[in-house]
Symmetry: C3
Subunit: 108 residues, 3 copies
């Protein structure tokens, strides 16, 4: 098992493509995203039913990278580019990877 870092970005769905561009510009070659709803500190509630009739206002994006430095660079770049104008949070979690050479292969 090898230690890696998972960057999680939860933000508004409308900027998914632009966030993805920043993730790739930082050197990550893969990411995963899921539709999300939620409520934030400004007290406004987004879709309570992600997946229902296709409406979901937020998105949770995950990126696995090899180093904490790269994780922080991605989080910093996304927060700097968007979090003044769009709601969002970003955090990093340590994960254990079985096969480090495989951790970027998410596609279909």
């Amino acid at each position: 098992m090898y230690t890696a870092q998972k960057v999680v970005i939860i933000t508004e769905r409308v900027i998914l493509d632009r966030v993805a561009e920043i993730i790739e510009a930082q050197g990550a070659t893969g990411y995963t995203h899921v539709s999300a709803g939620g409520k934030g500190s400004r007290g406004k509630r987004s879709s309570n039913r992600p997946g229902v009739s296709g409406i979901s206002a937020n998105v949770k994006i995950e990126v696995i990278v090899g180093s904490l430095e790269m994780a922080e660079a991605i989080a910093d770049a996304v927060a700097g580019a968007f979090f003044d104008n769009y709601s969002g949070i970003t955090y990093v979690e340590e994960v254990q990877i079985l096969r480090p050479h495989k951790f970027l292969r998410i596609d279909d």
Copy 2:
């Protein structure tokens, strides 16, 4: 980077609003939720296709809080209120936050 705690609650979708009320009553000002399917120890399978035709029986709720005490309080309150009558699990993960003053801003 600052250490924070992520409380994860996976339970039945029908009680999402009531779980959200308990989360907010504990003092958290934001949460994120995604639709989920799955199978549990009683051997019954919920929707295998979350997002397909809008049917998804479970929900995964995440709350970022500053302290382990608050994380445990939320997990305890939710489990105490619902897990005798509804299926569910709750667990806590440590996360690293870039900007602690921002970690509650999830809305749109």
Copy 3:
């Protein structure tokens, strides 16, 4: 609080049922899955809008187990069975469980 292990498998949706069989064959009695989109190292993008019109090519599967040995066994079995032919990653995260006797009860 008790320490447990969360195995995360992100792979192609078409093999969800077969991955679930392997998870159960390893002795886990419950799992959770959510629809996901993403992009991988081969540069191909799957659905950018999971939940929208029911199309989502990837799935993120989570399994909570009691030991790191079991977590690795599940990750190894899934990777061995599928990752030569299907895209996927798997990683393990440590989680804190409030009530260990409950952590398998995900059903509805």
